[in-house]
Subunit: 213 residues, 2 copies
DNA sequence: TTCAGAATCAAACGCGCATTTGAAATAGGA
DNA sequence: TCCTATTTCAAATGCGCGTTTGATTCTGAA
């Protein structure tokens, strides 16, 4: 047996890192076994095949990210709108910029967006839809329950988009944007910006609809 | 010779569609040749190898998208801030939702974000940086030239993020967001929303910095 | 100590891929 | 018509991949 830890756990850990970095198709079983210092046959021995290992990786990544950075961002549910937006943005950005296991989820998601596998449907309904609903609720708090569905969706996507862009534009961070290491204070700063920018946006939209009536 | 058109042109067209859909690595030379009704050896005969065909595809996609939907979105350069934002958003969204050749560029970009190739550096400096600068200029028009660099960057990313999210979240459009066919009027509507949401955001940020001084 | 089940291992299998090859077909000017 | 350069073609080459195999080693309870 190799250095430390059970082989199965080492395989899972190596697979997490590699799948997140290169995606399902571009990661080879041999890569995973090398990184885990395990024999080439061990993936099949412990997980059946590459695909079931991938499922296991998703399960692990999802569990870690929601427990490490819950989507409410640690703010009270009955806080004011800007604070709720801040909590959401901070949670999402913390996940995105996490260099530990909590960062696996957004990185895997990024891969799925370019080359979806069967795993995506499950992720969409179990993880993404609830987050989307959460943002909806905050917007309703600002607009009141009487609120055009179309408008609600556009605002929701504006808010989510600001956060999610940091995930999907990963390779551009150093190339185009001037982003290197991101410290926790920096994340807070970004989240505060997104919260107040979005609040300003929501108010502007609200003003327009009131003028129209 | 097959039905119509020169073989080389058919290969390029087929390669565009397939690379945009599945990315460089997941597209096989055999797929391309089949789609172009050409022999398996024709890619190497006309382009040298798969990689040089990919370069050619990028060149083609870039040329088409900027000439079909120039990044100013067809608004005068000295228009007011909201109109400039509208122009930018409309251009970007038009490209993203285009089902024709103009849509190749964002789709290829999406693939590069998940699995970068050597092509990305060129694209970043030739296509993306200039667009980023353009948004910067609009923000400066709102804020005046005296404007914190940090703040400028955050606002820029907020604006770009709202637009680009529609590109990167492609597989979620039907799954999570309720988006199906997108008509030109709908694109205008979305662009108008992003413009006024962003203007509201900019004003909010501006108000905060003024209060701080 | 014995021994059955678990774990590891190197080698091999089968397949799909990009690319090469050398011949055949085609086209167009002399 | 003849001849040469271009284009097309089916087959082959060589490599990397996921998975399987059958043997070997390890482990822990009896």
């Amino acid at each position: 047996m190799a250095e430390k830890g059970k082989t199965k756990a080492r395989l899972l850990q190596a697979a997490c890192e590699l799948f997140a970095e290169k995606g399902f198709r571009d990661t080879t079983v041999a890569d995973i076994c090398d990184a885990a210092e395990a024999n080439i046959a061990s993936v099949n021995y412990y997980f059946g095949d590459k695909e079931r290992l991938y499922d296991e990786v998703w399960r692990h990544a999802f569990a870690i990210t929601v427990s490490t950075y819950p989507i409410d961002g640690g703010v009270e549910e009955d806080s004011d709108v800007e604070t709720c937006l801040f909590g959401y943005a901070r949670a999402v950005l913390s996940r995105i910029f996490s260099e530990g296991e909590a960062g696996l989820f957004p990185r895997l998601l990024n891969q799925e967006m370019a080359a979806p596998t069967l795993a995506l449907d499950k992720i969409a309904s179990e993880a993404l839809l609830p987050q989307s609903r959460q943002v909806e609720d905050v917007i309703k708090k600002q607009f009141g329950d009487r609120c055009d569905d179309h408008l609600l969706r556009l605002c929701k996507l504006s808010i989510i988009g600001q956060c999610a862009f940091y995930n999907f534009s990963r390779p551009l961070r150093e190339r185009v944007m001037g982003i290197k290491n991101v410290l926790p204070e920096e994340i807070d700063r970004m989240a505060r910006h997104i919260a107040s920018f979005s609040l300003g946006g929501l108010k502007q939209i609200q003003k327009q609809t009131e003028n129209r009536n």
